[in-house]
Amino acid sequence: MPRLTATQRHVVRFRLNGRSVEGTAEPRMQLADFLRHELGATGTHVGCEHGVCGACTVTVDGMLARSCLTLAVQVDGCDVRTVEGLAPEQGRLSILQAAFRRHHGLQCGFCTPGILMSLDRYLRSNPSPTEGQLRELLSGHLCRCTGYTPIIRAAMEAAAMLASATQQEDHAHV
């Protein structure tokens, strides 16, 4: 049973977007701060620090998580994914990101990393969402610029594109 003392920094290792990473953290350090300050992964944004705004949303072992309501030491050994992992390669956006760009799904962009993570995770298990389902999902995020309408538009289009891409892949296998 490991006991990590309050005043020391302890080694934390996990997989970040498929790569092994390592840093040190006091037990009280939030995952959001660990990502940004220890690993330099500043794509994840820190807003309210009490789980309300959703800007810091990431996935831990495939499940959505507020990285401000998660300690760095809690995810030791886990699989963590952040907005930096969404693009398939340097200079190319994911289908969802590209739809956000086309539909102006962001203005200041502060809330966007968290919203993209929620939608990316959700669309993987719910490929044909209704607008109502997406609005309920987005109730876990605050955006003060867009009024949400362009975000919904982008997400609906991305869902349709992803669904037809999957269908084509299925045909290719037949």
Binding site: M1, P2, L4, P27, A65, T70, L71, Y122, G140
Partner: protein, 274 residues
């Protein structure tokens, strides 16, 4: 804000967690999903010296049926119970209420037992546990005991848990043949309820339980009242809850919600009664 400093203990077994609680007493807090506790740590409303993480203890995330009750272990996340294929058949009220607990992004981490341990007066899980005559299974290095939900929650975020105890599980009785209704009013879906009402219509009458108004969920049992008799009962209940004004709503508005959505959920429960 950032939490004040604490030691972090990653318990591998139940006994390790209980030994730490026995040694540290009131200076220790258990963390499971952390969706309520982390916010309190960040705001420094809670300043434990030791945090005991129980999520690596094996076998803690079990949902099982035992002697007519559904037993939900301390590690069961809200998302897991919500996705459980038998939830609507075994615990229809929980199936109605759980989608209102937080958001998709917090239900994926937050646990059922953690919500009961936190005992927020507006939370849905403690409301369901009280409405259904649920029980809280407590364990310490000294003993195990089972406390009725209505005795477990003693006030706003106050419970009957001793410093060396932790919640091992909560259990909900399966009540076949009853009808259920649930409704809640909040500023935004997933925010804290201004008022939440759960109704159960059984063979011998109706029960209405209300959260978000008094300092803990409260329930009342009535015979199958109707018309003005039901209005009178709802009105009396609304006043007994001793609603207060706050930034979200006035006491009068809360009493109105108890009367209005209280009646709606009772009607809904009657329609669903087998």
């Amino acid at each position: 804000m950032k939490p004040a400093a604490f030691d972090y203990v990653r318990a591998d077994t139940f006994d390790e967690a209980l030994a730490t609680l026995a040694a540290e007493g009131g200076d220790a807090r258990v963390i499971a999903g952390g969706q309520s506790l982390m916010a309190m740590l960040n705001m420094r409303l809670a300043r434990p010296k030791v945090l005991v993480d129980i999520m690596r203890i094996g076998d803690l995330d079990r949902i099982s049926e035992e002697r007519g009750r559904i037993v939900v272990g301390a590690g069961v996340r809200q998302a897991k119970l919500l996705a459980w294929s038998e939830l609507a058949a075994k615990l229809p009220l929980v199936a109605l209420a759980l989608p209102w607990t937080g958001h998709e992004q917090t239900r994926s981490r937050g646990t059922i037992c953690g919500s009961v341990a936190h005992a927020d007066p507006s939370a849905e899980t403690p409301l369901c546990l009280i409405a259904l005559d649920g029980e809280v299974h407590l364990r310490s290095a000294r003993r195990q005991r089972v406390v009725a939900a209505k005795d477990y929650i003693t006030g706003m975020m106050s419970t009957a848990r001793q410093d060396d105890e932790m919640i091992e599980a909560v259990s909900f009785p399966i009540r076949a043949g009853s009808g259920y209704g649930f409704r809640e009013v909040a500023r935004r879906h997933g925010d804290f309820a201004i008022a939440a009402c759960a109704a159960i219509a059984g063979a011998n009458g109706i029960r209405l339980a209300v959260a978000g108004v008094a300092d803990k969920p409260e329930a009342r049992d009535w015979p199958d009242l109707d018309g003005s008799a039901l209005d009178d009962a709802l009105n009396a209940f609304a006043y007994e809850l001793d609603a207060r004004d706050d930034i979200h709503a006035t006491a009068r508005y809360r009493r109105d919600l108890v009367r209005q959505i209280g009646r709606e959920v009772i009607m809904e429960a009657r329609r669903c009664r087998a």
